[in-house]
């Protein structure tokens, strides 16, 4: 087995040997299912679209945003946790090749993000199909497949962004608070009010082009995918420079 393959296995083992992962997966799974069921309960009431309509089904399929947020946190914990718990020291003693360690961690989190997002979206989609079938509806909107793929890409990208933020800040709590504050207050509240045309080009806005139903105000999915990947790559480049150069101890 090559050094890189061994390192991949070690990074996978790291991910699966902390409580953060099962807790995150369980919370995401419960929210994905509950979101669909709650939506189905209120569909057609107080002016909301009727159950089985394209608009309501799209609303129920907005699961990608959930898995993206969870992957952002998992990415931050995977990289920032190494510094918080100082496990970076035994990691670097075992693998002094810092660039390889960083690239493998990013790749493992990205792949996990894709698989995790696929599973969570699949769970949400399964619940949607079962709920609609229970009401005699056997119809899914045309963009369902695109939303599935978009959610997978968004989950992988936010996992990588999380790794970058964790490595840059070396502080898991600070990085999570800052990232969520950015997503909610800066992008969704301030920029959407001040410069709505700019918001779609920022990370959360771009991810909406992937995980939300087609909209004239959102970026086209291909463009959104490129923009989000671009943010992940740029942040990872910054993070890799500091991770490789900074002293540890």
């Amino acid at each position: 087995m090559t050094a890189t393959a061994r390192l991949v296995r070690a990074e996978v083992r790291k991910l699966f040997t902390t409580r953060a992962l099962p807790v995150s997966v369980a919370i995401a799974a419960v929210l994905a299912v509950a979101g669909v069921l709650i939506d189905a309960l209120v569909a057609g009431k107080t002016g909301t679209p009727a159950l089985g309509s394209t608009a309501d089904t799209y609303q129920m399929l907005k699961v990608g945003a959930l898995s993206s947020v969870v992957m952002l946190i998992i990415g931050i914990l995977a990289a920032g946790g190494e510094f918080r718990h100082r496990t970076i020291m035994p990691a670097l003693l075992a693998t002094p090749h810092r660039a390889r360690l960083f690239v493998v961690k990013v790749a493992v989190v990205a792949v996990f993000g894709a698989v995790f997002s696929a599973v969570i979206f699949g769970l949400g989609l399964g619940t949607v199909v079962a709920t609609l079938a229970a009401h005699g509806i056997h119809y899914l909107p045309a963009a369902t497949g695109r939303l599935y793929l978009g959610s997978v890409i968004s989950g992988a990208c936010f996992g990588m962004i999380g790794v970058a933020l964790g490595a840059l800040t070396r502080n898991t709590t600070g990085a999570i608070v800052a990232a969520i504050a950015w997503a909610i207050f800066v992008e969704q509240v301030i920029l959407q009010a001040v410069a709505p045309s700019l918001e779609k080009w920022l990370p959360v806005g771009a991810s909406m082009g992937l995980t939300n139903p087609p909209s004239a105000s959102a970026l086209a999915p291909a463009v959104a995918g490129l923009v989000l990947t671009g943010y992940a790559v740029v942040l990872l480049l910054f993070a890799s420079r500091t991770t490789i150069r900074r002293d540890v101890g």
Partner: protein
């Protein structure tokens, strides 16, 4: 060739000079104590040696190579720098299996080293519930995982109970007896005096002594002589090149000299010796004097 070579090593953090033109060697088959007060530059030196920090100038090598150049570092160097390098949610066994997986070591080795450090019964417990002593043992298990020829341990006795200290002393001696190179840092000479063969003493980032423990002990010993004419004995010994002084009660005190030399010099001068005795300064006082003198000079 020495196993560890520190050559003109300097590390500067902004205006702070943590390590200043440091040079020393650590040899195989011996336990070397790396001693100095807190903040003297020990840990910085060890971090540079292990590739965790970059030197401002100079080099720190193991068998002629920097840590990052070693083809299989975990099998060549075992290091325990800190007892707080564990994810509290992982078990001791999981922590070591991650290292074993990353380095291609067989997982049976994890059980072996946990057994060796006395943590076999705690292998499945989360590290978050470990005492400081248990964490020290787990750190040591990580260092021993690759069965390396060189061991670098930073304050390994911290937090250990007397039984643990006795155990680790025996372990370090046996590892050195197998021909391994063992470098152990401590801020207390007395803590490692029963273990080390050689000592490197650091103060303010400088080496102030690089010697054997026996030579260091010798430095701290004095011969006291009483005679009928102490002033004349002092003159005779000074003429013979002996470092000597007259203490208050009329006793002549010679540092770093052999009792026979003093006896013969006195006999040659016709001075009767009423008492000739050797007194060893305790190691901790000697260590304190070494470090303190250096700090006063630096100030």
């Amino acid at each position: 060739m020495s196993a560890i070579t520190i050559s003109r090593l300097t590390k500067r953090y902004g205006p702070v000079l943590a390590v200043d033109d440091l040079s020393f060697e650590v040899h195989p088959g011996k336990v070397t104590g790396f001693l100095g007060a807190n903040g003297s530059g020990k840990t910085t030196t060890l971090r540079i040696l292990l590739g965790l920090a970059d030197p401002t100038s100079g080099s720190a090598t193991i068998g002629g190579l920097s840590y990052r150049q070693l083809p299989d570092p975990v099998r060549e160097v075992g290091a325990a720098l800190d007892s707080n390098v564990f994810h509290p949610g992982r078990s001791a066994s999981q922590h070591l299996k991650i290292i074993a997986t990353a380095t291609g070591l067989p997982h049976r080795r994890v059980a072996e080293v946990l057994d060796l450090v006395g943590l076999a019964d705690a292998a499945g417990r989360r590290v978050g519930g470990f005492s400081l002593g248990m964490r020290q043992r787990l750190s040591l298990a990580g260092a021993l995982l690759g069965d390396p020829g060189v061991l670098v341990l930073d304050e390994p006795l911290n937090g250990l109970d007397p039984e643990g200290i006795r155990w680790i002393r025996g372990l370090l001696r046996s590892l050195a007896a197998e021909g391994r190179t063992v470098l152990v840092s401590s801020h207390l000479l007395s803590e490692v005096a029963q273990t080390v063969d050689d000592v490197v003493v650091l103060s303010k980032g400088h080496v102030i002594a690089e010697t054997t423990l026996s030579e260091l002990t010798e430095r701290g010993s004095v011969i006291r002589a009483r005679t009928t004419d102490p002033t004349r004995l002092v003159a005779v010994l000074l003429a013979a090149g002996v470092q000597v002084r007259l203490v208050d009660d009329g006793t002549v005190e010679a540092r770093g000299a052999d009792a026979g030399v003093i006896g013969l010099a006195a006999a040659g001068a016709g001075l009767p010796i009423l008492e000739l005795s050797r007194h060893d300064e305790d190691l901790e006082s000697l260590f304190f004097d070494l470090v303190h003198d250096r700090q006063e000079v630096a100030a």
